[in-house]
């Protein structure tokens, strides 16, 4: 009885150990599955949230805050800029691209809303004029330098004969004195 009882108890312990390992494994599986489901159906993983944040900031920094002086929508503390950032976030989360979102704001506020002036129409002047001015300036410098280089060197100014006589005299006196 004792051995048999021990054996039962031992068998039971062994069985109990196997059951324990199984329960732990099942629990681990359950936790992993639950975490996976939460990730798939619930809030986006932090990395994707960070990506959305980055995208919103990137687009907002290309837009002018319309109620500020020289501030982007990304940097402005104004209420309207905050609402604009929220709207950009909504559109990013809807899967809209940068170009589409910028076009939406341009369709509402005009090209003024873009911090970088567009490279067409009257605004093209802003991009072209500095380079044009630089080219004209460089051309001017080249022409002046070429004219200076082509000019004949000035003829030597004839020395004052009285001054030359004095120099010669002093040199002779000096040589006589040292000799």
């Amino acid at each position: 009885m004792g051995r048999a009882a021990f054996a039962r108890r031992d068998r039971g312990r062994v069985r109990g150990g196997r059951v324990g390992v199984g329960v732990v494994a099942l629990a681990a599986l359950f936790v992993l599955a639950a975490a996976g489901l939460a990730g798939a159906a619930g809030a986006p993983a932090p990395s994707s949230q960070a990506l959305v944040d980055e995208r919103v900031r990137e687009i907002a920094s290309e837009l002018r805050c319309v109620v500020c002086q020289n501030l982007s929508v990304a940097d402005s503390p104004s209420d309207l800029a905050k609402e604009m950032r929220n709207l950009i976030r909504e559109q990013v989360e809807q899967g809209k691209g940068r170009k589409e979102i910028l076009e939406y704001f341009v369709s509402r506020y005009g090209e003024f809303v873009l911090l970088d002036p567009p490279k067409h129409g009257f605004s093209l002047l802003v991009w072209v004029l500095p380079f044009l001015a630089l080219a004209i300036g460089a051309g001017g410098v080249y022409l002046v330098a070429r004219r200076w280089a082509a000019r004949p060197a000035d003829a030597p100014t004839p020395a004052d004969p009285g001054y030359l006589d004095r120099v010669r005299r002093e040199l002779t006196e000096r040589e006589d004195g040292t000799a």
Binding site: L80, E83, M84, S107, R108, Y109, G110
Partner: protein, 173 residues
């Protein structure tokens, strides 16, 4: 004077013209790309009354006024004119909707009470209507014709003569 000598003073002409253009234009004035285009549709829940959608007013002239109780003095200056215009022309089919920007309801209600507003006014949560209309300040007023297009946009307090001319144009159109 040879043409070379005339070149230097002549070169300053485009620069002066560019500067003159810069000084002549108002840097705060932003031309709206929405003029003569279809007004963006919106739904608004007025503080008192049923929800209104702009699309449901198609075929009727509509004035959309963006305002706030914190917008002093411009909104306070034009408020009596808004209410007077509404009372004068509502029988002729004019519709008027007030969109309240970034305001607290009690303050907005106090403003409406002060000026006896009887046309529908409602909040703009998230400033979605304002951004859709390209609003960058208050007050701004949009005159929408019977075809649903924005005929005119006014930035700042409306003067009676501007209001009268624009309403007449809307009613005739």
């Amino acid at each position: 004077m040879s043409w070379k000598k005339a070149l230097i003073p002549l070169a300053t002409v485009p620069v002066i013209l560019l500067l003159a253009y810069g000084f002549w234009t108002d840097p705060r004035s932003i031309p709206s790309p929405l003029i003569r285009r279809e007004a963006p549709n919106f739904r608004i829940a007025p503080f008192d009354g049923a929800e209104i959608s702009l699309a449901s007013l198609r075929g009727k002239p509509v004035i959309v006024n963006f305002w706030a109780s914190w917008c002093f003095p411009a909104c306070y200056e034009e408020a009596p004119l808004m209410e007077a215009t509404w009372r004068k022309y509502k029988e002729q089919g004019l519709h008027m909707v007030g969109v309240v920007i970034q305001d607290k309801e009690p303050n907005a209600r106090e403003f409406m009470q002060r000026f006896g507003y009887s046309f529908p006014n409602g909040p703009d949560p998230g400033s979605k209507i304002s951004i859709d209309f390209g609003v960058y300040g208050v007050p701004e007023t949009f005159f929408i014709d019977r075809q649903g297009r924005i005929a005119y946009k006014h930035v700042g307090a409306l003067a009676p003569e501007v209001m009268e001319a624009q309403v007449q144009a809307l009613l005739k159109g």
